[in-house]
């Protein structure tokens, strides 16, 4: 299937600084692709390349099969993390403004946000503002949606409802690109493209990206002392409820604990996405 948006070996330099280097990425209809990276990894620059707001220094970028243009950008809905709503306008006025900008003036306010139509956008709780921004971005029936951390900060139920909306758009044929550094959002995506230092360093489902990475999980009566021992031994230890998780070989962990006189059960368990991501990014920086 032809991609809605595609980067082929795309690079972008600003003077001596390379923000994106040889990135490949494609979003097709009906899928939710997560673009995952730390701050400064190159996510925003890559999105700006896809939208045609920047030109690649090398490689190619295609939006709906051609170089991005003003007319192809009309087929894209974009929700930045700052939401792009006018805080001093009502929900209905925000809707009308965007509809008019896209040549849709007079379109009725979407049913899902009509309850807040006369409220000032800036007076609504963050979760509702996100829902409004999403509905406004959908008002011109875009074929490609680009969402920046769409569910950050909104609480579990509102977040689940936002994902219902996002999935519904994908089910109706839109392609969705979610840029995020939030692992919960990343886990909701069909597949992930992981960036670090301007490069794509991994791609695939969350399970594929985790691969066979493991951590050592420590259970013991005195996790406080165990944490202190492992921390003093410079192992990357993290508290997890009543257990500790350590991104280091089990032998190193058991050695340190035994020398410190802590009796512990150590189990090698699969890493989670955050642990895999952090290990991957650290490896990239070391390389």
């Amino acid at each position: 299937m032809a991609a809605l948006a595609e980067a082929r070996g795309a690079s972008r330099r600003f003077g001596a600084f390379t923000a994106v280097s040889g990135a490949d990425l494609a979003v097709t209809r009906g899928e939710v692709v997560g673009l995952l990276g730390a701050n400064g990894a190159g996510k925003t620059t890559l999105v700006r390349l896809l939208l045609g707001l920047l030109r690649p220094s090398d490689g190619a970028v295609l939006l709906f099969g051609a170089a991005p243009s003003v007319s192809s950008r009309r087929r894209v809905g974009y929700v930045p993390q700052t939401l792009g709503l006018y805080a001093g306008l009502t929900v209905a006025e925000n809707w009308a403004f965007t509809a008019t900008a896209f040549g849709n003036s007079g379109a009725p306010v979407a049913a899902g946000i009509a309850a807040w139509r006369n409220e000032l956008a800036g007076s609504l709780p963050l979760g509702v503002q996100r829902q409004v921004a999403f509905a406004v971005a959908l008002s011109h029936h875009p074929e490609l949606l680009i969402l920046d951390e769409p569910t950050s900060g909104v609480g579990p139920l509102r977040g689940a409802r936002l994902w219902d909306d996002i999935r519904q758009s994908a089910d109706q044929g839109a392609g969705v690109l979610v840029t995020t550094h939030n692992m919960e959002e990343a886990e909701q995506c069909d597949r992930l493209v992981v960036m670090a230092g301007g490069r794509v360093v991994a791609r695939g489902t969350a399970a594929e990206i985790i691969g066979d990475r493991t951590v050592a999980q420590v259970r013991c009566d005195d996790t406080t002392r165990a944490f202190a021992l492992l921390d003093a031994g410079h192992l990357p230890v993290q508290a997890h409820g009543t257990t500790l998780r350590v991104g280091a070989p089990a032998a190193a962990v058991s050695g340190l604990l035994a020398r410190g006189g802590v009796d512990a059960t150590i189990e090698v368990v699969p890493a989670n996405l955050e642990e895999a991501f952090v290990a991957m990014v650290a490896g990239q920086e070391a390389a």
């Binding site: 609480g155 139920l157 692992m183 993290q238 508290a239 409820g241």
Partner: protein, 271 residues
């Protein structure tokens, strides 16, 4: 509980900001308060630190100078260098002599900011600013460390480093209370409080909350919403049946913590 809130009500004008909220904080333990925007998380911390007076309930806290508190939007001086921020906090906490230089060096080492000590606070990255703010709150080795959304908007590498700082504080005996909007951070806590609209939806260890999920949870494929009590997990649906009877074609699954949080919110909404 040693420190914390017990059955606390807070009113703001006519609005009830917190209703019957209990948040325990014990030495060497991490309590995570999780909720969305407007849930009442910051209000809990303001009541805990004494910034506001509850209308009812009990608040247990050490003397003010034994608390380390980092609000959501501040915690350092943007116009001072890292070193000057440390000096200012050390003055405020009346640290002197050897203790002062030892603690400052320790905080610089733990936060990884030794190389940045001459940079202005405002010029640090978001993650470095949060680490410095937490470091400043730890300078006087508080008995109670209170952090309001220390990891919001912070990238994953800095987030792990912040949680390492928090873990170190707990390992040193400090009672820690942290708020967050990220469900997966609750798994790091010894005690989790789920807060929504000023009320506690669920509380306990992560395992308590998981095992307390009422009814049955299932997984369904397809585009249509299987029941009103359904939500998306990737391409598939999660379905909650409070009475334990899942509809035909819905495959039972073991709920995970993300499911438990959504179910607690659904149950709270249903009243």
């Amino acid at each position: 509980m040693r420190w914390g809130l017990e059955d606390v009500d807070v009113r703001r004008g006519r609005n009830v900001a917190l209703a019957g909220v209990t948040v325990p904080a014990d030495p060497s333990r991490i309590t995570v308060v999780i909720g969305g925007d407007g849930a009442g998380k910051s209000t809990c911390l303001e009541a805990l630190t004494g910034l506001l007076e509850p209308a009812a309930g009990a608040v247990y806290r050490p003397a003010k100078e034994r608390i380390g508190y980092v609000p959501a939007t501040a915690g350092l001086y943007a116009d001072l260098t890292v070193q000057e921020n440390l000096g200012f906090s050390a003055d405020a906490y009346r640290l002197s002599g050897r203790e002062r230089s030892r603690k400052a060096a320790e905080i610089l080492d733990r936060t990884g900011l030794s190389g940045a000590r001459r940079r202005l606070g405002g010029q640090l990255s978001g993650g470095m600013q949060r680490k410095l703010a937490v470091g400043l709150a730890l300078l006087h080795s508080p008995e109670l460390l209170v952090l309001d959304e220390p990891t919001t908007g912070v990238d994953p590498v800095s987030r792990v480093e912040l949680w390492r700082l928090i873990g170190q504080a707990a390992a040193a005996g400090t009672a820690v209370v942290v708020t967050t909007t990220y469900v997966n951070e609750a798994a790091r806590a010894a005690t989790v409080i789920l807060l929504e609209a000023g009320k506690v939806l669920a509380s306990g260890t992560p395992d308590d909350i998981l095992s307390g999920v009422p009814g049955a949870v299932g997984r369904a494929a397809g585009a249509g919403r299987p029941t009103p009590l359904s939500w998306r997990r990737g391409r598939s649906w999660r379905v909650w049946a409070p009475a334990g009877r899942l509809p035909d074609g819905v495959q039972p699954v073991q709920p995970d913590f993300d499911d438990a949080v959504v179910i607690a919110a659904l149950a709270g909404e249903g009243g």
